[in-house]
Symmetry: C2
DNA sequence: TAGATTGTTAATCGATTAACAATC
DNA sequence: TAGATTGTTAATCGATTAACAATC
């Protein structure tokens, strides 16, 4: 019954969503795969193929309804769930994420912060109190946290992941540059900045 | 002459590099594709295939020399270039990047900061002075900046990209959630956090 | 020598691109 | 009706996996 959607397609959906949202705010009602593709540098065939995975919602000879398509993609991505995040590790990166305003517009909200450093515990970042790691299980339950964000050094990341899983989070967003082991039932997305930067270095080295 | 390496392979090389560096620090001299694969959850065949792209440096029946392989990957990725970064936009994210210590260990260094906000210009972040955008061209030349990092809001990102290109950067690392147009000679890597987070949301929604 | 492990070729799998009938 | 654009099937392309000879 449930169609399997490729990761490549899933990774393009946020790009479509972002563009459709912008177009909606500009009062654009209808968009063709050709126009959308030109904005994002993706072929129109690719876009139609991606969208067709979820059923037909374009109109032949006309295009796609911007608002409807946007809502549909939002639902496919599960953005209507208003996921609640807890960030573990309130260093420079964790602090920046706690202040990242774009989350809200995608339906995510940061509801808890944790740090092992006693000098940080008790302070507030963006109006959210920083808790000690020892209170994690209780607070994650009481605040109905869905997603654990790991922003601690690599050598502490696995321990934090284990705690988050034990505390009952439904997914993990990991910024530590290390391969984490978590149960296969817990979706895990890695955000390793060094990969992109190394790839950039590679391509720069290739330029004649 | 120059073999074309797939993006998928390039994106795995930093993972190999990171693991080899750790193993070297643990005094491990020789590693097999099997062991490396187990650490990273990548099949040994995949690893051998990736490495074979650059020539032979394993020993049949033995494995790979950790130090040699690490050095070789570093060179392929161009990490020995000691690239110099300039960050544009010293908000929460830009500030976090300016303080990100892992860059140095990969051979990158942040040498300049820019912001359009007058209240920030002149202050220091991690010992680096924040300059006004108007001085960008001159400072990028005098500080020999290689890579421009874009950490401004989406609606300012294209303008910043144009300025960086005009100032002569060799590559762009973009954190703004927007498709940038830059000359094809300038490598561009996008680091759009909302893609990973949306993918996580998707997978969490699929769990029965 | 026997066991281990690479490098490479062939087979498979999956994603992208091309083509076009359907239809607004 | 003629032009535009989708949705889908077929063709192509590229990446991963499997198999195994070479060799330490």
């Amino acid at each position: 019954m449930k169609k399997i959607i490729s990761q490549a397609t899933i990774d393009r959906l946020p790009l479509y969503f972002r563009t459709l949202r912008l177009m909606e705010s500009e009062e654009i009602k209808i968009i063709s795969s050709d126009e959308l593709g030109r904005t994002l540098d993706i072929t129109p065939e690719q876009i139609r193929k991606d969208l067709a995975t979820f059923g037909q919602f374009g109109r032949k000879g006309i295009g796609y309804d911007v608002h409807e398509l946007k809502e549909r993609i939002s639902n496919i991505l599960g953005l209507q769930n208003c996921w609640r995040l807890a960030i573990v590790g309130v260093g420079h990166l964790g602090g920046a994420l706690a202040n990242y305003t774009n989350f809200a517009s995608l339906g995510f909200s940061v509801v808890a912060l944790f740090d092992k450093n006693k000098s940080v515990v008790g302070s507030e970042v963006n109006g959210i109190k920083v808790n000690s790691i020892s209170g994690m299980k209780r607070i994650i339950a009481s605040k109905s946290v869905d997603i654990g964000v790991i922003a601690v050094p690599a050598d502490e990341a696995q321990g934090v992941a284990d705690l988050l899983v034990a505390a009952g989070v439904k997914g993990i967003w990991n910024f530590a540059p290390i391969k984490l082991n978590v149960p296969s039932t817990i979706p895990l997305v890695n955000e390793d900045l060094s990969i992109g930067l190394s790839a950039l270095s590679y391509h720069m080295s290739q330029e004649s």
